[in-house]
Subunit: 380 residues, 2 copies
């Protein structure tokens, strides 16, 4: 086995005296960043209506891209030929990719993932052809081509894509699943994660690999998952699988899960970053969060502020000359008013989507800066 | 009559020895700029997917906004309350508005203007209720409200909007019109323009007012129009009305029209700025051109280069690592490749529209820079 030239590292800069929250520093081949961090979602390698130059300037340290989407368009081989996702997309700061499994399985179980919804659920239906020990065979929503996703092909694709952090291939069981089926899925997902890690170690790159902690909302299974995965040489752990049917269930699950994970490894929470969830889970020790919510909400005219969300299409803002939020330095707040933004949404102008996205992303980045400050002061 | 505090001026910096082309300088309350100039179209006060900060940085000196659209949304009163179109939209450089007549009449005659097409033609049909000596009554496509557009209400609205340059209210006759009807429209349009100017002079602002030269493709009528309008105190003249059924007819019309206009006033060509038309009409003495073509083409993936247009969705660019055009300093060319742009269009990512628009607008600005250089060197 070749020596792995892994430049990934995680350092805890401060452990809060008030909770399990910590301020950390993650180092990757594309630079270092502080945690807890918000991770913007750029499914196809782009933050919808926002350029990478603007997002990087705003301080978005880490971006999430979806392997499933990138495999289907433009294909991992094209990205590799173009020099990897950073050079291809023009984003020079860290990027994380998922395994593709989440999207494939959410299709299989009929509960289509948030990010897929926007593309129309109908055409995705029944795209999964076969699931067995090897992996999952599905039909591309784009051209009908058959794609086999296994731990090896997923990690292989993620290596070609070339993100700084990869996620191992797992099976996503639905929330409503018989206990026997859950246990069987649980066993298989850990075999798949082991195969993911082995493939990664045998084909070394300077990328990091996170595991995905499973077990649904069954404390014993979550603990067992932590125990299995902690013994393997992952660079970090992501909390995935079924996170419960509401925020309370999720927080309860995180409460018994996180203490079972090694303190010295970074922990990512998959797909959740609404503000109440951040407030609840940062004190439990989560280090990074990805969510398409801030940019998706922006495109629907919902803007984040310290005084709650602001529905910009409301008539209340028709002649409001103030920026979205006083003191915000995003492009929207620097260059325009609530009144003009209201007009852009009313007139269906594309510029409105860009400006609103710029604000919400900037808000999340600034929110995490303040969170880190609170942790450093032991106030959180 | 109050003294008009008109800060508008036009200075010819160089008259080409090779043609009637000239390099000029137009000064407005929002700064000076050089001509011949390309005028980007921001119908609703926004360049679709492009921010004003970026457009101004690119060197877009003048933007065209449509009074008809702004009256309907957000309404001229709102824009006035918000401090005028510059403060409202965040564009601090010069802006020109049309009279609203073009859009209203193009609806009446069933040949919907280019810019309206994108909003769906059906809902606009039969929106014109009445045309008489006073003006035109039409139904708002937005809320069904009845709007009366006359020379006085059009200039009144344009004053509230507050662009640097306004255009007088005229009647747009269709291309296929009986000679008698054309002459009757011709007489009325000049009475309307006179009323526009009188209303402007009686309600002075530091805005400029351009006339619209009419007469279709009948040389005598065009000459007569120039003669009538030249005797009035307009700040500049726009060539409008029916411009012929193809480029050859338009160029022929411009050849006998332009010599009849005073050399010391700037001349604008309404709604035309494709490259062949620019090459044909700049040597005839046109000083500015507005067109939504470059940004609209961009949104459809057609990119302008010195080697012709480039259809970015073509498979030829799937793995092309070059920028759209070597040496171009637009945001797209500085931050991304043909390959990534191809991917963004294939994946229906909004960012593709912004980047493509950025390129085409930048291309037009740069094209006009080179045109001015050629005129200064007497090469055009």
């Amino acid at each position: 086995m070749t020596t792995l030239t892994n430049t990934f590292s995680f350092e805890i800069l401060h452990q809060s005296k008030k909770s399990a929250a910590r301020v950390g520093k993650i180092t990757t081949p594309h630079g270092s960043f502080l945690t807890p961090a918000f991770v913007g979602v750029g499914t196809n390698g782009a933050l919808k209506s926002l350029g990478h130059d603007e997002a990087m300037e705003s301080g978005l340290d880490l971006m999430f891209a979806n392997t499933y989407h990138l495999m289907v368009q433009p294909g991992e081989d094209t990205i590799e030929k173009m020099g990897g996702i950073h050079r291809f997309s023009g984003r020079s700061r860290p990027i994380i990719t998922d395994s593709g499994g989440f999207q494939v399985f959410s299709l299989a179980y009929g509960s289509v993932a948030q990010e897929l919804k926007s593309q129309g659920t109908k055409k995705h239906a029944n795209s999964v052809l076969k699931i067995n020990e090897d992996g999952v065979t599905f039909r591309s929503y784009r051209d009908g081509k058959t794609i086999l996703l296994t731990p090896e092909t997923s990690i292989g694709a993620q290596k070609k894509i070339g993100a700084d952090i990869m996620i191992s291939f797992d099976e996503l069981p639905p929330y409503h699943i018989a206990e026997k089926a859950l246990k069987s899925s649980f066993e298989r997902t850990h075999r798949w994660e082991k195969r993911s890690l082995e493939y990664h170690k045998n084909n070394p790159t300077n990328q990091a690999l996170y595991s995905v902690v499973h077990g649904g909302i069954i404390p014993e299974l979550r603990k067992k998952s932590c125990s299995i995965l902690s013994q393997m040489d992952f660079d970090g752990h992501a909390v995935g699988g079924s996170l419960g049917k509401n925020r309370d269930e999720m927080v309860e699950m995180l409460q018994y899960t996180l203490p079972c994970l090694p303190k010295e490894k970074p922990v990512h929470l998959l797909g959740i970053a609404d503000l109440p969830s951040l407030y609840s889970s940062i004190p439990l020790g989560i280090d990074s969060f990805d969510s398409s919510y801030p940019t998706k909400a922006a495109r629907h005219g919902t803007l984040l502020t310290d005084n709650g969300t602001l529905r910009i299409v409301s008539g209340a803002y028709k002649e409001d000359a103030r920026p979205i939020e006083e003191g915000c330095l995003c492009r929207a707040c620097r260059t325009t008013s609530r009144s003009f933004l209201h007009h852009l949404f009313k007139a269906n102008e594309l510029l409105g989507l860009s400006l609103a996205s710029s604000h919400n992303l900037h808000y999340m980045v600034r929110f995490m800066e303040r969170v880190r400050q609170k942790i450093l002061l032991d106030e959180m």
